[in-house]
């Protein structure tokens, strides 16, 4: 029970944290682009948009940072057995993240916020790029650490039964890391683009600040179109990699209990859980699963039952099948929404090309609603990858059920879970109202800040 609660807490706080992380990754990059455009063209429109979206970025960074602290502490607090076991490998990227990414990000964001009238234009521009680089580095080290849990490499188990690092290069070229990292960075960019596009669409629909927000809609779409196209193939390739190292994960995502060759993909299905192993597939698409999981037309996919007996032979008795429902639907939420976003992006690109973007009310309205989709996709993605690893916390090495802190009681976790959930509700509410208020009314403030020349006002 304590173990289950600790899992609930980790899942809740991680999913919540990752609402803000991709916004930060995406917006930091896009704000840097806007400021570069201002630096290059000297067009004041770009300056006000830099300040406007810069403030949205800062509101969001604040909550991303504080929720990140929980993540850093939680391994030791709730998962001390895990921490003892993996610290020698898993801890290293976290420490490197601190030294290489956090100092960079936090110092240069301070310089950027307060440096508008202190620093030369070029240096000030470099500051926001340093912030963006910090967010990308931070994601890199987290993905190095997480990928090691999915596919442990470059380690040995020492005489005390702890994992110790033996090859740092191996954990940096871990294929799960390379593709997973690309996937997360693109997800961040897509999230930032959709937020920027949604806010711009809101103003364009109202007919306010049309020229400025037309520019930002254009920037957002210009980044979004290639990002979503590449993302679909990166996601696909990640599936192939995972099928190689974690076949359970992919078989469960398809609710594929029996072996198949070639394998079809069901658009959706009824049943498919452990009690109904031959689900009613609605609209099966022949060969598609083979292509997705193996990258070949007739590739075989090993079914969950076969995999489970293989695992039992290797690791002893037990159930090694992850939650099929979560796997099946998180995969589909991600894939289907991404396809819709691809269509939206192409539509937007076409409207831009015909210069009809500002007048297409239907497109602009859909863009408003599309802001919700990256958050759903990001959550689905982490559910797919983390729940798909279960029952392992480190694939093949340690089970989640054995990894929690023996000294932390169920009562203590109830307290912490309640406190975190309540705090997160308050923080989330405040963040949302601030973001919405500022999105609606912030232009006047951004204009005032952009026009400032003489005595600087107080930033905080």
């Amino acid at each position: 029970m304590a173990n289950d609660l600790a899992r609930w807490q980790f899942a809740t706080t991680t999913i919540y944290h990752f609402f803000f992380v991709p916004v930060t990754i995406g917006l930091a990059f896009l704000v840097a682009i806007l400021q570069t455009a201002w630096y290059r063209t000297d067009n004041p429109d770009y300056k006000r948009m830099t300040r406007f979206f810069g403030t949205l970025l800062l509101i969001n960074v604040a909550i991303g940072v504080v929720t990140g602290l929980v993540q850093e502490f939680q391994f030791g607090m709730n998962w001390s057995t895990y921490s003892r076991f993996v610290g020698g490998v898993f801890g290293a990227p976290l420490a490197m993240e601190g030294i290489l990414a956090f100092f960079l990000e936090s110092t240069f964001i301070g310089l950027w916020i307060f440096g508008w009238d202190r620093l030369p234009k070029r240096v000030h521009l470099a500051c926001i790029w340093a912030v963006s680089a910090g967010t990308l580095l931070s994601a890199m080290f987290i993905l190095v650490a997480n990928s090691w849990m999915q596919h442990p490499v470059g380690y040995k188990i020492n005489s005390q039964g702890q994992a110790v690092l033996t090859n740092v290069w191996a954990i940096l070229v871990n294929p799960t890391f390379i593709w997973g990292y690309a996937h997360v960075v693109l997800a961040g960019l897509i999230t930032g683009c959709l937020v920027m596009l949604g806010v711009s669409a809101w103003y364009l629909r109202k007919g306010e600040h049309v020229e400025s927000f037309h520019r930002t809609a254009k920037v957002a779409l210009t980044v979004l179109i290639p990002a979503i196209v590449i993302q679909l193939s990166v996601g696909n390739q990640l599936g192939v990699i995972e099928n190689k190292y974690q076949p359970m994960k992919i078989a469960a995502a398809e609710a594929q209990w029996t072996n198949c060759k070639p394998c079809s993909f069901s658009v959706f299905q009824i049943g498919g859980g452990a009690n109904d192993k031959t689900p009613t597939e609605i609209i099966p698409i022949p060969h598609l699963l083979s292509v997705l999981a193996t990258g070949t037309w007739n590739g075989p996919v090993t079914g969950l039952d076969t995999l489970n007996s293989q695992y039992q032979a290797k690791y002893g008795p037990g159930n090694y099948v992850p939650d099929v429902f979560i796997q099946y639907w998180s995969m589909r939420v991600m894939a289907y929404l991404a396809s819709l976003i691809l269509l939206l992006a192409i539509w937007g690109g076409w409207l831009l090309h015909r210069d009809k973007l500002r007048n297409s009310r239907l497109f602009l309205t859909i863009c408003l609603w599309a802001v919700a989709t990256p958050f759903l996709m990001n959550t689905a993605g982490w559910l797919l990858t983390e729940s798909g690893r279960q029952p392992w916390i480190v694939q093949g090495l340690q089970k989640t059920v054995n990894a929690n802190s023996p000294s932390v009681s169920q009562t203590e976790i109830w307290i912490s879970l309640t406190v975190f959930v309540l705090s997160y509700i308050v923080l989330g509410w405040a963040d949302l109202t601030l973001m919405l208020r500022y999105s609606r009314r912030g232009m006047a403030q951004a204009d005032a800040e952009a026009a400032e020349t003489a005595a600087p006002a107080l930033t905080y």
Partner: protein, 333 residues
Amino acid sequence: MALHTIWFILITILWVGFFVLEGFDFGVGALHMLIGRTETERRVVINTIGPWWDGNEVWLIVAGASMFAAFPNWYATMFSALYLALVVLLVALFGRGVSFEWRGKRDSSRWRSGWSWALTIGSILIPLLVGVALGDLLHGLPINSQHEFTGNFFSLLTGYGLMTGVTLVVLCLLHGATFLALRTTGELRDRAHATASRLGIVAIVVNIAWVIWTLVVIGGGTVPEPTQIFGVIAVIFAQRLATTQNDAWAFVASGFGIAAAIGQIFIALYPNVMVSSTNHAYNLTVNNSAAGHYGLVVMTVVAVLFFPIVLLYLGWSFAVFRRRISAPPTSSG
């Protein structure tokens, strides 16, 4: 020198860096309603730490992550033992962290005073709790042969731990006041001087009492360590220099006072990293807590290559904003 000793020193430096840097912004946060009387003044006070507080907080994260990486057993035992205390610490960090960015974003006095209180309470609670935690490392907590904590929340509230927490809070308040005297002008600066001068007396007394208690906890000799003597002198100097309005040196002295306080805890701790009050045979030490040799080599290379760069741009960011801050003449706050 063995690599695990180098990492123990590095982690000590990270904790010292955290308290010397974030120490002044804790002090400023805790004093901002007292020294800033009007809304504009409060904003001036908060803006004195504006560019840096976030970077200062990173030292805490890096210290924690370095413990995880270099001494997994230490991190695992300490963080699971301090469970509920860390939950409170995290909530304080939430409130304080977002208060900076969010406080000024709505023009409502209720909104602002709410975040002002979050900032004040957080700025006191965080050094208090971290102080209790560091004090407990040295005092000892019930830990069994498996390096698992066997106590409960109340076992964490050791007298020495609490005293360490209170001492650090007082030192942070003094450090914040000397910082404000250095960074402001006019009335604010006068109030900062007065506060530093009065707080300084309290800090001198509390610091000496705590140093004596530390000697008792360590046991053995009654002769104070050089770091301890240095710390006591530094705090006395900070008070004197603040009273005589020697802003820069007062700030340097209060910084050394905090550095010595954190430093002496870790010096007294070594080669232990966490003492077991159950049985000293169960102490966690640099030897039995450390990660593998190769992992430490890799991290040492990363730290040696990149930490100097970090220090360079940190120094630059302090230099960029070195000017004193005063209220803009027309600001409505």
